[in-house]
């Protein structure tokens, strides 16, 4: 789920960047340092939408660098337990399949795939129902529920299920249009 959140960060700037474009340099450095990162607390920082406030700079003793406290608004993406997501399958194997929803990887174990779907190995590994009507393969879109998240300092990894009602394949790339 996406959030719009205000975060604060202390940015260090080398004196060579001081000048009339100090603020722009600070914002550029902020974007470079923060966008694309992931924290366990807030999730993936997708994009910075604005800078609220830049505080007074403090010169660090001994180095000459200056630390500015910067408050900024950003869009973050963080998955939660119980959330329903639509994800795209990236890999299928006999243990289950991996799917991606935005920047987050989700693993669905074969224990959490409906029992009537069997793994079929081959050139295009997939899970198929006994009558062949429903297939999960690479690039299929599936609706899944997050049942667990593991949060590291820089990464979020999720476990999902498609065994409940109204979950499963949305669209199959192999289906004829």
């Amino acid at each position: 789920m996406f959030f719009h959140i205000v975060l604060e960060r202390n940015m260090q700037l080398h004196p060579r960047h001081f000048g009339p474009h100090l603020r722009d340099k600070l914002v550029s450095k902020l974007i470079k340092d923060v966008e694309g990162t992931c924290s366990g607390r807030h999730g993936f920082v997708v994009a910075i939408t604005g800078v609220e406030d830049i505080g007074k700079g403090l010169i660090r003793e001994g180095t000459g660098y200056v630390t500015f406290p910067v408050k900024y608004q950003c869009v973050v993406f963080r998955p939660f337990k119980g959330e329903i997501l639509e994800a795209v399958v990236t890999m299928v194997n006999k243990m289950g399949f991996f799917a991606e929803a935005g920047p987050v990887q989700i693993f669905v174990s074969n224990h959490l795939i409906p029992d009537d779907m069997e793994f079929q190995s081959g050139d295009v590994p997939n899970y198929t129902t006994s009558d062949g009507s429903v297939k999960i393969q690479k690039d299929s879109e599936v609706r899944l529920k997050i049942i667990g998240t593991r949060v590291d300092a820089t990464e979020i990894f999720c476990i999902g299920t498609i065994k409940d009602d109204f979950l499963g394949v949305i669209s199959d790339p192999g289906a004829a249009m």
Partner: protein
């Protein structure tokens, strides 16, 4: 039959009975009692595993109470099975070694262990399972449609930002942008907000509204199946949700 008794004195009381030759481990924690309890039991304890009273205590942040009762296990297992089934982990094995003092300490240190808190015997029903959102303060939830519009504007400005060769467009931005665009079922975010905002009056939380917008359900059954917490207040919200779903169908963009 030899019966061992372990007695601990803590701010909370832990009374642990262990029986050799098939033992059951019962741990009862009672808040705000601070006295030594020495319980003796007769040989009849060996058949009391079914009669051991269960006390379920909701844990606060300050204290923990948990009740575990394990079925009889063979003594040859030496407590390992019981320790495995205990969510607190291998602390019980230290008890099985008869180290009463250590056992007490391990339980108090066990408070800090992950997963050791509030192990209630009763399981929550689906309706009680709210989305486990710990929304940070000063933040707002964004629906996929809103994010798609927001990121579209940023994407258009990317050309200006990318003049600085040090700035690379991060991969997660592209992935999130793609995901938001593909997950967006509706024509405009404003229209979705107008349809779903009135649901707040009927006890639907922001997170639940966001889920409904992101999923794009077609029937009320789908909503209740995917957002079980709404079932609890279905008498209040069923009508408004059905109206909202009808309105959403009108603004849905076919893919």
């Amino acid at each position: 039959m030899v019966l061992d008794f372990l007695v601990l004195k803590l701010a909370d009381i832990f009374v642990i009975h262990r029986l050799i030759n098939g033992y059951s481990l019962t741990i009862v924690s009672m808040k705000d009692l601070s006295m030594n309890v020495l319980t003796g039991s007769m040989n009849g304890m060996n058949k009391s595993s079914a009669n051991i009273p269960h006390v379920t205590i909701d844990s606060d942040s300050d204290s923990e109470g948990f009740v575990e009762e394990l079925a009889r296990v063979n003594s040859s297992l030496n407590g390992k099975a019981s320790s495995e089934s205990l969510k607190t982990g291998g602390k019980a094995s230290s008890l099985s070694k008869g180290e009463a003092g250590k056992g007490g300490k391990s339980y108090s240190t066990g408070k800090g262990r992950k997963g050791s808190a509030s192990i209630a015997v009763s399981t929550k029903s689906d309706a009680e399972l709210k989305l486990e959102l710990d929304i940070p303060l000063n933040s707002g939830i964004l629906m996929n449609c809103e994010v798609a519009e927001l990121l579209q504007e940023i994407h258009e400005h990317m050309a200006i930002l990318s003049e600085d060769p040090n700035i690379k467009i991060p991969e997660s931005f592209d992935k999130a942008f793609q995901y938001a665009k593909e997950g967006n079922h509706f024509s405009t975010a404003q229209s979705v907000k107008q349809v779903l905002d009135p649901l707040k009056k009927y006890g639907v939380s922001d997170g639940e509204i966001c889920l409904i917008a992101n999923i794009g359900p077609e029937t009320i059954e789908e909503v209740y199946a995917l957002v079980p917490s709404l079932k609890a207040t279905s008498s209040l919200n069923e009508g408004p949700i059905m109206e909202a779903l009808t309105a959403l169908t009108n603004i849905k963009v076919p893919k």
